[in-house]
């Protein structure tokens, strides 16, 4: 067990290194010089040269990467071009909001997805299965940014029940667990929950159908165990995989929240990323991508560790 844990953690290090290289290169694959967005178009050649030296862009790439990595490891992600504030400060405020949205969405998606998937797998090939499977296909096929728009049209524009944008009254970016704030969370969270719902439902359906077809279930039935008893065994067998899928989905939502946060102007990392793209604020873009990708890497690691603790038979490398 310990050996597996050590191997799994060691395996993460080169991946994390690779991710940091990709994030570093993002600024350098951008067309033109990373400085073009800061410098005025009529800047003299000498000024350009001085600025390049000041930012270290005149040094070879590996050296630049080393300097950049050392700074990042100390929590220094550079300065946002658009706001002039440190990227780390901007990200810190936004991350909390993204976490709230993604966690709530994952929970809703997991509960509904398990329900649909379980019913579909339990009554396999019946009309209930067909309906539940169709709902899960809709879940994975719907463009979620459009679903968000449709929900806004229905519940904000037509019915005027819920706010269309923001995370709190007066556009405040600070979260609190009161109704004034939760009202703002409902639509984006439901929109976002559709993605994990579809995937969890598909996974759970396959798991339940597979478990029910195994011999030990027939054995339990033969012993005279009622449906409730069988149900308990099925849940116990399906839970580890379903939970792992949920963990990975949380990672996808944290990293992929940009479209939904843009639709709802939710003040999270995705929204920030959208602004960074719009203003060509490359340091902010780079910082946001790096943090989100690292969160995803760590979450993957945690999911694997927790899963192997629950069920030692699954040891993925």
């Amino acid at each position: 067990m310990l050996k597996y844990l050590a191997a799994r953690i060691l395996y993460t290090l080169p991946v994390a290194f690779g991710v940091s290289v990709v994030c570093f290169m993002l600024v350098h694959i951008a067309p033109g010089d990373p400085l073009t967005s800061i410098l005025p178009p009529d800047a003299s050649a000498q000024l350009q040269q001085e600025m390049r030296a000041l930012y270290g862009f005149d040094r070879p790439l590996p050296v630049q990467y080393g300097i950049w990595l050392l700074k990042v490891l100390q929590g220094d992600f550079g300065t946002s071009i658009a706001t002039g504030r440190p990227v780390a400060t901007e990200l810190g405020r936004a991350l909390g909001n993204t976490f709230i949205l993604a966690v709530v969405a994952t929970l809703i998606g997991f509960l509904l997805g398990s329900l649909f998937g379980f019913v579909a797998g339990y009554f396999r090939d019946s009309w209930i299965d067909k309906v539940a499977s169709f709902i899960s296909i809709i879940g994975v096929s719907v463009p979620h940014y459009w679903l968000g728009m449709v929900l806004v049209i229905i519940f904000s524009v037509q019915l005027n029940w819920l706010p269309a944008t923001g995370a709190g009254p007066g556009g405040s970016g600070d979260w609190a667990w009161d109704w004034a704030h939760i009202r703002h969370l409902i639509l984006p969270a439901i929109t976002m929950s559709v993605i994990p719902m579809g995937i969890v439902a598909r996974t759970v359906r396959a798991l339940v159908a597979d478990i029910l077809s195994q011999e030990f279930v027939s054995g339990l039935r033969a012993k005279g165990l009622m449906d409730v008893g069988v149900f308990r065994h099925v849940v116990k067998n399906a839970a580890p995989t379903a939970l792992a899928v949920m963990g990975l989905q949380l990672g996808y939502l944290l990293g992929g929240s940009i479209l939904i946060e843009t639709v709802f102007s939710w003040p999270g990392t995705g929204f920030l990323l959208g602004q960074a793209i719009f203003q060509r604020d490359l340091p902010l873009l780079q910082g946001a991508i790096l943090v989100l990708a690292m969160v995803f890497v760590v979450l993957n690691l945690l999911v694997d560790i927790v899963q192997s603790l629950i069920d030692p038979r699954v040891q993925r490398t």
């Binding site: 694959i29 096929s141 459009w146 524009v157 479209l259 959208g274 990708a293």
Partner: protein, 293 residues
């Protein structure tokens, strides 16, 4: 004399073959057939857009901005610049399908090549290739697409490039795992023992066995790719105005949801219909080819 009769016998006993069976099972799946009809219809609509569309998708009219669905001369309303929505939705199929399908097709070839090479050669090359793939796998797909096209800037080519990079890793992974499994089968071993070159073995023995599962997996990615491609345009990356593209139309009509909400929602409905049809098509193909997920 004898040779002819043997040949005749052989042809008589020839079985209908694998692909005939797949086609038969597929044609008996009503959901998959409906999806196929919708997909073919969308492709035809994209190709023959100039013949199908009632008017010019670029012609603006300041007097006819944001007309509701069912307006005289504008069956699906008019957008924020007074352009005919129906014509724009029809023309939109061109770029939306191109942006959604092309990356998966290119990634299918590159990813398969990487995965089959890694799986067949094995050893250090496998480790080097697959660990590199793992790095790209460590990004959620939406994030990687947006990171790349965010850094490269808007434009059709940059969008296609970013999406292709996103879909190479998952396809390479599947290709690697099926190839590794096939490589261990005895007849491949036998072919190698009888002196066949690596290229011949891959072409004759490996390709036929691995291309089916990789292909089905890749078709399943098309719906994700469509949603992502339109998503890029929705964020202001990818396709630039005034081109008709569903994601971009959704973006420019976002401010109109208080005036003409249902007109604003139409482009998304097109993305949804296309994406779900490709998904159902892929599911039908998977069960017809009897490939497990």
């Amino acid at each position: 004399m004898t040779a002819v009769s043997i040949e005749k016998l052989a042809t008589v006993e020839k079985s209908p073959g694998y692909w005939a069976g797949v086609a038969r099972r597929f044609s008996r799946d009503p959901v998959a057939m409906i999806a196929l009809v919708v997909v073919v219809g969308l492709i035809l609509m994209a190709i023959f857009a100039p013949l199908v569309a009632p008017s010019d998708p670029y012609r603006t009219s300041m007097l006819r901005r944001l007309r509701p669905i069912g307006t005289e001369g504008f069956p699906l309303g008019a957008d924020e610049l007074g352009r005919d929505m129906l014509s724009r939705l029809i023309y939109g199929a061109r770029l939306s399908l191109l942006m959604g399908v092309t990356p998966v097709v290119i990634a299918f070839f590159i990813g398969s090549a990487i995965g089959i090479t890694a799986g067949y050669v094995g050893g250090r090359l496998n480790t080097a290739l697959m660990r590199t793939i793992d790095v790209f796998f460590a990004f959620p797909s939406v994030l990687l697409a947006i990171a790349l096209s965010g850094a490269l800037g808007a434009g059709i080519f940059n969008g296609l490039l970013s999406l292709t990079v996103v879909f190479i890793p998952p396809i390479a992974r599947i290709a690697e795992s099926v190839t590794t499994a096939v490589r261990r089968i005895e007849y491949v071993e036998a072919a190698r023992a009888s002196g066949a070159s690596a290229f011949t073995i891959v072409r004759v023995h490996v390709l036929g066995n691995v291309i089916g599962p990789i292909f089905v997996y890749a078709t399943g990615l098309i719906s994700v790719s469509l949603i992502l491609a339109s998503g890029l345009s929705f964020l202001g990356l990818g396709v630039k105005p005034p081109e008709p593209e569903w994601g971009l139309m959704l973006n420019t009509l976002r401010n109109a949801i208080y005036v003409q909400p249902w007109v604003a929602a139409l482009p998304g409905l097109m993305i949804f219909i296309t994406s779900i049809s490709f998904n159902l098509l892929s599911d039908g193909l998977r069960s017809a080819m009897d490939i497990k997920a």
